[in-house]
């Protein structure tokens, strides 16, 4: 599955910025659109009502004006005189003349019993009952009246006034067409489209319109629509118009109505302009947000990059690395914290280096790796004790400075051999060195490594001795004791001051073996326990069986000769001869033993061990041991 993610902080920031902005903007836009449309609709509805009033008022005022004109015409004395002649042709002609004075579209004269006396447009209709008799009846009541009527399928506004001589002798009717011109005038006033319709049971006729050009079949349902809803949407040329139908005149068989309409699109034109404006604002805002966001991201990501570089440097061990973030805000704070941290890390590293010099690096690593606690564990280890024979004597005759230099040189060289062979230096006690293998890091080969180290130490010391001799110093010999066994290893001491060290009989035995070198005149002694683990690698000769103080079990003591690979045949023969002599000695054949040891010493005068046994053989010949003697020597401190 592929998960969406940002590889750059900047992109994430911009994504959220833009997203939030777009969300807000969309919300605003939706609300604005809603409110605008609602307002527009409400406005149009009220405008429709206003237009209805304006239209009604316009008709009323027109009617008032027409009435005034009609009264003026009806007062014409000459016309009255013509009327009294009773000559229809003359009356009609005079009527026509009157109507032209005011530009009327229709002029009729009706008798007081509602019969047509003259009709300019329809001379043949004389004597017929006037079609708008209800208007005359109204005029009888109010002095004048007006109505809407269809004359030759054209909507007319008709007014009637009495011809007074001085009592009413006839009714003068003047008519004006409700035509395109009137509607255009109204449109100019109200911004509304307006159409005049008439409805008969048979059909709907469109008489004049500012909008609708052709008789439209959809007009058929308009009366029903109007009945259902006061203001309704009506589509013309697929464009919506909020419409209102005003019935201007109603009779039983027909009615005349005005359809007033406002284009929905035109009304929303401002909104559409606003929409573009909003889009422009949105786009420019987004551009600004992009710039600001990029800048903000940069102010955040740049310190982060600096810090990443710093962290990498720290990771590589460059604790002196400092970042330069001088801002006074959180990033500056972070920079300062980083620098403090690197300072503390440098400090720690310093301590760690220092510790490595004071304590064995292996132990440092071990200590670092876990919580430091007092206590230890039992492990099989190989312990090594070394000491310089006669150092105390030369120390007394040397300047302290030179002594320290000498000792430091010696300890450095020895320590290097131990470290090289994965050993752990436990401590230096004057010229003495205590070391061990097999802890804290597990080491299977601990005995071999300890002996390799011992051999290397003796070799290096031989080189040092040559150096020292040149400086006029006495040749110093080194005694080494090695033992393998179980010991307790761990942090021993107080909670404030502790050593990683070892304790136990196995350790003590190694120390005893180091001292036992004096007795045998040897350089490296090891116990039978160590021997058991190294006999394949090193040639060792068994020297003795000794009893360590406080232990009943005797321990076999061996002298380390060298690695098998480096042993020559002479040494090998020497060892075998010694072994044969030791067998004789152990079987109590003291004389034969004496002869064999004497023989060895003839060839190897420096074999101090054989000397010890020669002396021991001779003494036993003089003072044979009692039956209880088991041939074990006690190993003293």
């Amino acid at each position: 599955m592929c998960r969406f993610g940002f590889r750059r902080f900047r992109n994430r920031l911009l994504f959220y910025f833009i997203g939030l902005f777009a969300f807000t903007l969309t919300g605003v836009f939706v609300v604005v659109e809603q409110v605008f449309k609602q307002n527009t609709e409400a406005n149009i509805r009220s405008e429709l009502v206003v237009t209805e009033r304006v239209f009604s008022q316009l008709l009323k005022e027109r009617s008032t004006q027409l009435t005034q004109w009609a009264i003026t015409l009806a007062s014409d004395f000459a016309f009255k005189k013509v009327m009294m002649t009773g000559d229809p042709a003359t009356i009609s002609s005079a009527l026509f003349n009157l109507s032209k004075r005011i530009g009327a579209d229709a002029a009729l004269l009706v008798s007081i019993d509602y019969k047509l006396v003259a009709d300019v447009a329809h001379p043949g209709a004389n004597g017929q009952l006037f079609f708008a008799a209800p208007m005359i009846k109204q005029a009888e009541e109010y002095g004048a009246a007006s109505t809407l009527a269809l004359i030759d399928q054209q909507p007319y506004q008709l007014v009637t006034v009495p011809v007074l001589a001085p009592d009413p002798v006839a009714w003068l009717c003047i008519g004006f067409k409700i035509d395109q011109a009137l509607l255009m005038k109204l449109k100019q006033l109200t911004q509304m489209e307006i159409s005049i319709l008439s409805e008969t049971p048979a059909r709907i006729i469109l008489h004049a319109s500012t909008l609708i050009s052709q008789p439209n079949p959809e007009l058929n349902g308009i009366w029903q629509k109007s009945a259902a809803e006061e203001n309704f949407f009506w589509f013309y040329n697929k464009k919506p118009y909020l419409s209102r139908l005003i019935v201007l005149h109603k009779q039983t068989d027909f009615s005349i109505a005005a359809l007033i309409q406002r284009s929905w699109d035109d009304a929303l034109a401002n909104f559409y302009r606003l929409r573009w404006l909003l889009a422009g604002i949105a786009l420019s805002s987004m551009a600004i947000i992009l710039l600001v966001g990029a800048w903000v991201a940069r102010t955040v990501s740049k310190p982060m990059q600096i810090l990443v570089k710093g962290v990498r440097a720290i990771g590589l061990g460059d604790y002196k690395y400092k970042v330069n973030l001088s801002a006074r805000d959180e990033t500056g704070e972070l920079g300062r914290a980083f620098n403090e941290m690197s300072g503390q890390l440098a400090e720690k590293e310093k301590i760690r280096n220092l510790l490595g010099k004071v304590v064995s690096p292996v132990i440092v690593k071990e200590l670092m790796s876990r919580e430091i606690t007092l206590g230890g564990e039992t492990r099989e280890i190989t312990a090594l004790f070394s000491d310089l024979a006669g150092f105390t004597t030369i120390a007394e005759n040397m300047q302290p400075q030179a002594l320290v230099a000498l000792l430091n040189d010696y300890l450095t060289q020895m320590g290097k051999q131990i470290i090289t062979n994965n050993g752990v230096i436990d401590k230096f006690i004057g010229d003495a060195i205590v070391a061990f293998w097999g802890a804290p890091v597990m080491e299977q080969n601990h005995a071999v490594l300890a002996l390799k180290s011992a051999l290397a130490m003796q070799r290096v010391l031989a080189g040092l001795r040559t150096q020292w001799k040149k400086q006029g110093l006495p040749g110093l010999l080194m005694r080494i004791g090695v033992n393998t066994g179980l010991a307790v290893v761990g942090n021993i001491g107080s909670i404030d001051r502790m050593d990683y060290t070892m304790m136990g009989d196995a350790v003590n035995l190694a120390a005893r073996l180091e001292g036992a070198n004096k007795f045998y005149g040897t350089g490296i002694l090891l116990s039978e326990y160590t021997y058991a683990q190294v006999k394949d690698v090193f040639l060792c000769r068994e020297l003795d069986r000794v009893r360590v103080q406080g232990k009943r079990q005797p321990v076999g003591v061996f002298q380390l000769m060298d690695e098998h690979s480096r042993i020559n045949s002479a040494t090998k023969a020497h060892c075998e001869e010694f072994a044969a002599a030791l067998r004789e000695f152990r079987q109590g054949r003291w004389l034969q033993a004496e002869q064999l040891f004497t023989s060895i010493l003839l060839e190897h005068q420096d074999d101090t061990v054989s000397q010890v046994y020669l002396v021991r053989s001779q003494q036993l010949q003089l003072n044979p041991p009692d039956a209880r003697c088991d041939g074990i020597y006690d190993l003293q401190k």
Binding site: T64, Q68, I71, S75, F77, K80, K81, M83, M84, E140, E141, G143, A144, P162, L164, A165, P166, D167, P168, V169
Partner: protein, 224 residues
């Protein structure tokens, strides 16, 4: 007392009282539909029986005057007998133009001021509506009746006719009367020594009199 009530022109109710004089008295009260008195109503009686010479009736003058003062006709309704002459003097310092297009008498006295035109003789029975060509609001009526027994109601709508005993058709006329020629004229018998009282209900229509300038009527209308 017998009272005959004449409602509109369809019913009649005459109250006959004992009277000793030669000429009996007929009191008539004219009321409109709301019960208000209707002044200036012409009330006249046409004798049915016994036939007698109508010329023997009461004739006040042979010549009647309809005067014009301050752009108004002074006498709004004048009742005359056929053949009588009416003069239309002008007491204003402007000219007037009296005319009538009524079938009973069509005439014109074009623009005159100081010299009173020749009297106009009204020889046909009926109402003659008078107007002034240059003052639309000026209006008066000459009512020509073929009977000596006529009079106009006073401001309280009352009139008293002095007529000999006999049978009569009682007729009323008013400029605003809706139906001036009823199909069934109302008949009444006046007996000697009796006084009759007649109450006549009139159905009046609105009048469309041009208003005297300045116009101040409702809707700026030109009528009152």
């Amino acid at each position: 007392m017998l009272t005959i009530r004449l409602c509109g022109t369809t019913g009649i109710c005459v109250c006959l009282l004992t009277a000793t004089a030669n000429a009996e008295k007929l009191q008539v009260l004219t009321l409109d539909r709301d019960g208000n008195a209707v002044p200036q109503t012409v009330v006249y009686a046409l004798p049915i029986t016994p036939p007698f010479n109508i010329n023997s009736g009461i004739v006040k003058n042979n010549k009647t005057v309809v005067d014009q003062i301050d752009k108004e006709f002074v006498e709004t309704v004048t009742v005359i007998k056929p053949g009588m002459a009416v003069i239309f003097p002008n007491h204003d310092n402007i000219r007037h133009h009296v005319y009538s297009f009524s079938p009973a008498k069509t005439f014109e006295l074009p623009l005159y001021k100081d010299v009173t035109p020749k009297p106009v003789i009204f020889d046909k029975v009926g109402a003659v509506a008078l107007g002034c060509n240059i003052h639309d609001w000026m209006s008066a009526y000459i009512y020509v009746v073929d009977s000596p027994f006529f009079a106009l109601t006073n401001s309280r709508g009352r009139v008293e006719l002095e007529i000999p005993a006999g049978r009569y058709e009682i007729r009323v006329w008013h400029p605003r009367l809706k139906n001036p020629d009823p199909d069934k004229p109302q008949k009444i018998a006046i007996q000697a020594g009796q006084q009759a009282t007649l109450e006549v209900g009139l159905e009046l229509k609105k009048s469309f009199r041009p208003m005297r300038a300045p116009f101040n009527g409702p809707d700026g209308g030109a009528y009152r």
